[in-house]
């Protein structure tokens, strides 16, 4: 299941808060080499973990298996503050546009394949399902260009906001994805899982495997 928590809600669960920031550090600093974000305590935290951020957390077997952070574009966000060379003209903003950052699937949940794991597609189903009832139907994502193909496979309407740039070994392109109910249908069909993934409330304490 996927839980959507505000920063404040996340901080009320120290076990979850730590697991989330540890996962972010292990993936973005240690695996992808974004050394600017390095911290000695192994927790990755930046200026955008503010009170309006929403944290999407996928829990599997009592562990944090996937994560993404949603930021409103009505205040400064990654594209406008940090990744400023990724857009041309005025970047889209407004209550219906959010920025998706720190998309991450924990190593053990990548299904050992090149493609997108079930946790990865749960995150995608999750932000669409979370956005639609809130009047949010667009997200800005800074991702590797091959995600354009995947977004189109899932019937998002995609539009680049600028040309791709190379950061370290990685190529990144800022893209605006627009979605609606039919996108959600396609995502669910591709996952062969039609039930909602978004869960209310909090997950159980981490490490508590549910009896199966």
């Amino acid at each position: 299941m996927l839980y959507a928590l505000t920063t404040e809600e996340l901080m009320q669960r120290p076990d979850l808060w730590e697991a989330v920031h540890r996962l972010r550090h292990s993936i973005f600093v240690e695996e992808m080499g974004w050394s600017d974000l390095h911290r000695d305590d192994g927790l990755e935290i930046d200026q955008f973990d503010h009170e309006e951020a929403v944290h999407h957390i996928v829990i599997r077997d009592g562990e944090v298996a996937g994560y993404q952070r949603m930021l409103p574009t009505t205040r400064p966000h990654l594209l406008t503050e940090v990744l400023t060379d990724l857009y041309v003209g005025d970047p889209p903003s407004g209550p219906d546009v959010w920025e998706l950052t720190r998309y991450a699937v924990a190593r053990d949940y990548r299904d050992g394949r090149r493609g997108v794991s079930t946790v990865g597609t749960e995150l995608i189903a999750g932000f669409v399902e979370w956005g639609l009832p809130r009047g949010i139907n667009k997200v800005i994502i800074e991702f590797e260009p091959m995600w354009v193909l995947r977004a189109l496979q899932l019937h998002f309407l995609a539009r680049p906001l600028g040309y791709q740039r190379t950061y370290g070994r990685q190529q990144v392109v800022a893209t605006l994805l627009t979605f609606n109910e039919s996108t959600l249908d396609v995502v669910r069909t591709r996952r062969a899982h039609h039930a909602p993934v978004l869960s209310r409330g909090y997950p159980d304490l981490l490490g508590q495997r549910q009896a199966s």
Partner: protein, 242 residues
Amino acid sequence: MGHFDRTLAYISDLQQADTPGAICEKLLDVTSAFGLTALMAGTVPQPGTPKGKQKDHVLLCDWPIEWLERYVARNYVDHDPIVSRMKQLQAPFQWRDAANEVKADRDGEVVMGDAGQFKLKDGLAFPLVTLDGQIVMVSLGGEQIEMSGLEFGMISLVSGYAIGRAMQLHAGTERTIDHVELTPRELECLKWASAGKSEWEISQILGISEHTSEKHLLNAKTKLGAVNRVQAVAEAIRRGYI
């Protein structure tokens, strides 16, 4: 209109293309200004995939038909240095770089040399990975290519959208089983066209008028959503009709 606005216009145009043929045409319209006049995109067959099955892997194709036939017949896919480099999931690269890397490999040299005969002397190529982990190879080639770094970025970006559109159409055909009904005569004409026969020659072989053979090929072309004869033949091969 600024450079990026033009790129956006190409992309929105591509997203409205509703046949693989139209996607090829629109993409090559953009790339031919830089000398990239031929396009091949498809998923990677496993080494040793039977020749008959290799064509199922093609998504978009505007290669010279004789080159396509030779490529499949001689199983070049297993020796093509561009293909081996794409399998390593590299960022976009130029053909000449891949060719230089594998200078030692005789088979690879043969493929590149042969491509040159079809005016495919250089190009750019890159792999994409689909949702389910399939590698899609995109290769654009021509006789002499010239582009700046910015244009290189523009071409790879626009190509990504072209492949995405092709995958959408491909998935759509899988769901609805979009089978094109070709008459036996149309199929016969396509087969002879794929063997390199002209309309006049086909009319002589089949004992029909040249006008009639022309009409059969035209109908087949329309049904297959192709923009020209070469593409109609490629599409018929891709769909396994001939």
